[in-house]
């Protein structure tokens, strides 16, 4: 079973990746979705369910890695709601 340290580490890694989206809307959505997914599954106690959720997170991390790379390769002008200075 994934321990809380591993889960927390995954959460942190996912958010770090989400911040790397160059596209404002995808970045904001990923941040919100990751946060809400972890919050909604906070009460999970069944080890099998925790592992399933953890593995899904690992898959999402790989996906985010690929997609943020693509997003950084094809960039567009910033939106009118986006500050021009670097985010991080």
């Amino acid at each position: 079973m994934a321990n809380s340290k591993q889960v927390l580490g995954l959460y942190k890694q996912l958010l770090e990746k989400a911040y790397k989206f160059d596209n404002y809307n995808f970045r904001e959505y990923s941040k919100r979705r990751i946060h809400d997914a972890f919050k909604d599954n906070k009460g999970l106690s069944d080890p099998k369910a925790i592992d399933e959720f953890y593995n899904k997170g690992i898959d999402s991390l790989a996906l985010l890695h690929r997609q943020t790379t693509i997003s950084q390769m094809y960039t567009f002008d910033k939106l009118v709601v986006e500050p021009l200075k670097k985010h991080h």
Partner: protein, 475 residues
Amino acid sequence: MYRRLVAFSRKPLRKSTVGASSVRPFSQTIIETSNPVTGELHITTNFTNGTQPPKGSTISLKSAKRDATQFGTRPIYLDVQATTPTDPRVLDKMMEFYTGLYGNPHSSTHSYGWETDREVEKAREYIADVINADPKEIIFTSGATESNNMVIKGVPRFYKNTKKHIITTQTEHKCVLDSARHMQDEGFEVTYLPVDSHGLINLDDLKNAIRKDTALVSIMAVNNEIGVIQPIKEIGEICRKNKIFFHTDAAQAFGKIPIDVNEMKIDLLSISSHKIYGPKGIGAVYVRRRPRVRLEPLINGGGQERGLRSGTLAPPLVAGFGEAARLIKQEMEYDQKYIDRLSNKLKSGLLAIPSTQLNGSEDPNSQYPGCVNVSFAYIEGESLLMALKDIALSSGSACTSASLEPSYVLHALGADDALAHSSIRFGIGRFTTEQEVDYVIQAINERVEFLRKMSPLWEMVQEGIDLNSIEWSGH
């Protein structure tokens, strides 16, 4: 053991050293469009603000609320009824098919064909799952327009010896209305049902319009301009009782409102991929097998898709569409809760402006919250759109946005020309942020006030003159 990611270490890009050789480094080959620091490809779009305030005016249209040099220039996207951005998860699925899985899904002699065929069937399953259909009942087409054409032309043509009548509504999408008109030329009779001021049809009108030789009833589930949801279940029951095929155009409804083809007794249903964060260029039509619906295909050939739509499938698009359908089902509750919240915020923010009116139904059960259509009296919708260069909006469907004609959908609701001209549609989707909605509310508030200050009509209304009492002359 847990799966580990091997491909995670990121090697820094090796910079080629520029020597005396004539070979240019990569970063110089696209010098006009690339960022000299990072070498990133950069596509620039210049949006110049053409709208200028009158001389002596203190209000400026240049920026909505803050220093423009601190912020980007690309407009906020608020037109998800026209099309949606492709979800990165969908693109991730599609990438496999553009890199390795290139087999023809209809090639049954080798594994290249089998592997793509397996993925195509998986996608079909995901799409069928959203509407509780059997995967065999899903036929892939090029989009909802083709699906609508196929149904509206195909079903009556198949039954043309005994049936000569089609029923549809006045507020349908152009592709349904145009196909219906085409069928009139072929000798069929078409009844266009009127709608009430909220955009809903009257079920008694439908019952009265049904004849012995009615072949097909086609009524859209969610309207693309005002977001009103028709009573699909009741319509389905009426049609089944009269043994008439019922088609619904669910391009705007698929995955956004709960649809069950068996419970709602839908016989045919059109779906579009790019309205659910999938790729453009693909759609599907659901064709019921029991009781069997028969139709004449538009495209003949190799007999793919049960012989109803020949031609090789596009596995990248099909798989992307399937993934989009899987996601929209998985995320439906989460997305709708979020869209609901933003929609309420936007509505209350916009309707706080005096002399505004919400088009569509007030009943939450018959109104899709992601589509907010508001009329701003005493302003021309197109001029407001011109003043809102920093927000991507539309005054109606994308197909008619090139013309200045007022929307026929709003006309059908009984709106007068002035109201139809002054309405704007706001679309909220999965990727809309709260920050964007806040910006839009403030920008609209400021621009509406600005344009009304210029409007002589608004001045008259403020002075208490009834506009209807004026006798206009000179034109």
